[in-house]
């Protein structure tokens, strides 16, 4: 049993039948699009903010699923990209540049450069070594942000205004904010789905099962993985942009290792490798956390055992569970 086995061992959900592959994500996005109605029908107003936050994390969990679920690369430093996105947003707004069309390219460029450099180093390793080396880079960015005295250091940075799009201000309105994030989530989902279905995606998936065979066929496995890693990082940076605007605050805590761990849990909870599973996982995680924390101060004593039971009695996360239920009826 070798350490290198870790990557290959990631059980991703088996390719589902065509119908379910379209049906479940379609239902998911339809439900999300209708969610603001629930507020008009009497759900508390805070609910919309919670869902928006959940979708922001869903973008990050989705981007992680590209490398974790599809590529078999368990990154334990993914929150660093969220942090970079959030800090670029925070710093540029503080410096008087709130136009999103200026901020977003800056974020994507910063994440691409960081992803390319660290990815080139990390991808020389496999398995647990990869997990830990991504953690190392995540921690370095975390400590760097802590040292940024000019932008609040550990205390973080309050944003006194939010980003604008060509003069429009979608973040001032809760519902507009919600749909902006939903659109970004849908866009990210379609992009990654397209990637996975393409030849690039097939190579990435095949490289998880058997890297040697793929490289024999003439593909540069490391390069394919690096491209996936960079794209994944850029999308996580995008979620950082939304997180900064939603919280109106950025802090090194956004990229602590615990946060990277939570992203992995979200993806695993939903069911790795299916993409929409990561979205479901993120939303379920945040809603469960919020609902339980309203119940009792000791909600972790309930949440913890629930997670354990969930792992023990289900396989393939929530998506696996849904599919099992679906096949029983179908």
């Amino acid at each position: 049993m070798s350490a290198a086995a870790t990557t290959a061992e990631v059980t991703s959900v088996a390719p589902p039948p065509e119908r379910a592959k379209v049906l479940l994500p379609a239902i998911l996005f339809l439900l999300l699009a209708l969610a603001p109605l629930a507020v008009t029908l009497g759900m508390p107003a805070g609910w919309l903010a919670l869902l928006t936050r959940a979708m922001i994390f869903a973008i990050a969990a989705l981007s992680l699923d590209l490398i974790l679920g599809v590529g078999g690369l368990v990154s334990f430093g993914h929150a660093a990209f969220i942090g970079i996105g959030a800090y670029v947003t925070g710093i540029m707004i503080t410096e008087g540049r709130s136009e999103a069309l200026v901020i977003l390219p800056a974020i994507l460029a910063a994440c691409a450069v960081f992803g390319a450099i660290t990815g080139a180093v990390c991808l020389r390793t496999r398995g647990v070594a990869f997990i830990m080396i991504t953690l190392a880079f995540g921690q370095m960015v975390y400590f760097l942000a802590q040292a940024l005295s000019a932008y609040g250091g550990d205390d973080g940075l309050t944003l006194y205004e939010t980003s604008r799009f060509l003069g429009f201000d979608p973040f001032a309105n809760r519902i507009a904010f919600f749909y902006t994030v939903l659109a970004a989530l849908a866009g990210a989902y379609l992009l990654i789905r397209g990637l996975v279905a393409s030849r690039f995606g097939r190579v990435l998936r095949a490289a998880r099962e058997n890297p040697t065979r793929v490289s024999v066929t003439g593909f540069d496995v490391t390069r394919v993985r690096l491209v996936a890693y960079v794209i994944s990082g850029m999308l996580a940076g995008l979620s950082g942009f939304f997180l900064a605007n939603h919280t109106e605050f950025v802090s090194p805590a956004f990229m602590s290792w615990q946060r990277s761990g939570e992203l992995i849990f979200m993806a695993v909870l939903g069911g790795v490798g299916s993409l929409h599973g990561a979205i479901i996982g993120a939303i379920a995680y945040l809603i469960a956390e919020d609902a339980l924390s309203h119940l009792t101060e000791h909600w972790r004593a309930i949440f913890g055992p629930l997670i354990v039971l969930f792992v023990l009695f289900t396989r393939g996360g929530i998506v696996g569970l849904l599919r099992k239920l679906g096949s029983r009826h179908g």
């Binding site: 802590q146 550990d154 205390d155 309050t158 109106e248 605050f249 101060e297």
Partner: protein, 389 residues
């Protein structure tokens, strides 16, 4: 629920007339505090100190029944914002009391103040919100953070110490702390050390202190850091050899773990459990009876925050008129556990600061005790940057 409420409201109108019915509408207060992780020891004091004042008032403040929602900020700014925003947007909120830490305050201040609620900080007092970012609905019942560190700097200077070794965690509050100390200490700083926030073992620093032989050590090592440092300090045989001045390093939240190792060490504060006034005696006895631990400044400041709200709501006759309520808050017309207490123009207190010393009580418990007054009627210097009058 709604039906029942309107029924009782109706009954109230019938029985007592309109004004009394208005008084039945509960005061909606959110207490934002950290209840997760090691810092929960401080957060619980804030929550319990506030609750104690409300309980002693028969569940009312200013004669109005109180509906308290406790929110755990988990010491994660984005989590705090999510929960607090949900709370203030969920319906008319009168007051938000909290949090413990400045980085959480920076995150929640905007959503709370934007909602029109009053924000009363029972502990965090960052310089930004004392100066440029001050707000008419933001008040602090503790102090401006720098002031506590300045107490020790002033004391070290008064004692004519020549060489100081100063140490703090490597984050913003740590840097502010050492800057605050140096503002008044004019001697030589032989070493200025920043340790990681999760440092466990201080042997390296203690060895340096032992070999450098400074006249005084100043430490800002809150929570578990302080427990580790103080225990290892005494184990390294430094007790009694070098005077130990500190801020937030030896207080009622850490003393149960530091115990004898901390006895004789100094801190700076605006209050101590042995403060000689009747209200403090009553408060400490009640708190110990209810929660089985000696209350520290965190509990005391939260208790004062509740008394502040009580006095203001009473004077303004409810919370309907915000301007009247704000004027009443500014007056700070309540009997503070500290004795003297008044607000500056920026919503931060003007008050006395003391050097406090750790002592073992006859019953075997540990507490800080007032050693001497260092500053009288001390206002923070940032108020001049605040546009409020």
């Amino acid at each position: 629920m709604t039906l029942k409420f309107s029924l009782s409201l109706g009954a109230g109108v019938l029985a007592l007339g309109l004004s009394a019915a208005q008084a039945q509408e509960p005061l909606k207060i959110g207490v934002v505090s950290v209840l997760t992780g090691p810092a929960a020891a401080l957060g619980q004091q804030v929550r319990d100190g506030f609750q104690l004042a409300v309980d002693q008032n028969g569940g009312k403040l200013g004669g109005v029944p109180v509906q308290i929602t406790v929110i755990d900020d988990e010491l994660k700014p984005d989590v705090a914002v999510g929960k607090v925003r949900g709370f203030v947007e969920g319906g008319k909120v009168d007051f938000v009391v909290g949090p413990v830490f400045s980085n959480i305050l920076g995150a929640i201040a905007k959503p709370v103040l934007d909602s029109g609620a009053f924000l009363i900080s029972p502990n965090a007092g960052p310089s930004t919100m004392a100066g440029k970012a001050c707000h008419q609905n933001f008040f602090v019942t503790s102090y401006q953070n720098d002031q506590v560190h300045e107490v020790l700097g002033k004391y070290a200077q008064d004692q004519n110490y020549k060489k100081a070794y100063i140490i703090a965690p490597n984050y913003q509050a740590g840097k502010d702390s050492l800057a605050g100390f140096k503002r008044y200490f004019k001697g030589e700083v032989i070493d200025e050390v920043y340790v990681p926030l999760n440092a466990l073992d201080f042997s390296a620093e203690l060895a340096k202190i032992a070999s450098a032989k400074p006249d005084v050590v100043f430490a800002f090592l809150p929570g578990g850091l302080g427990v580790n440092f103080v225990k290892q300090w005494s184990q390294a045989g430094l007790t009694g050899k070098v005077p130990f001045l500190s801020a937030f390093t030896v207080d009622e939240s850490t003393l149960p773990a530091q115990q004898d190792a901390a006895v004789g060490m100094f801190g700076g504060m605006t209050w101590a459990p042995n403060m000689d006034n009747p209200q403090t005696k009553k408060f400490v006895a009640a708190y110990e009876a209810a929660y089985k631990i000696v209350p520290g400044s965190y509990a005391q400041q939260a208790y004062d925050a509740a008394q502040l709200i009580d006095s203001a709501v009473k004077a303004a006759g409810g919370t309907a008129d915000k301007d009247k309520l704000r004027a009443a808050i500014k007056k700070a017309d309540f009997t503070s556990l500290r004795g003297k207490f008044k607000f500056n123009t920026n919503g931060y207190p003007i008050q006395d600061f003391y050097l406090v010393k750790v002592a073992k009580r006859p019953d075997g418990k540990f507490q800080t005790e007032i050693a001497q007054k260092v500053f009288a009627d001390y206002a923070d210097p940032h108020a001049k940057d605040c546009a409020l009058k």
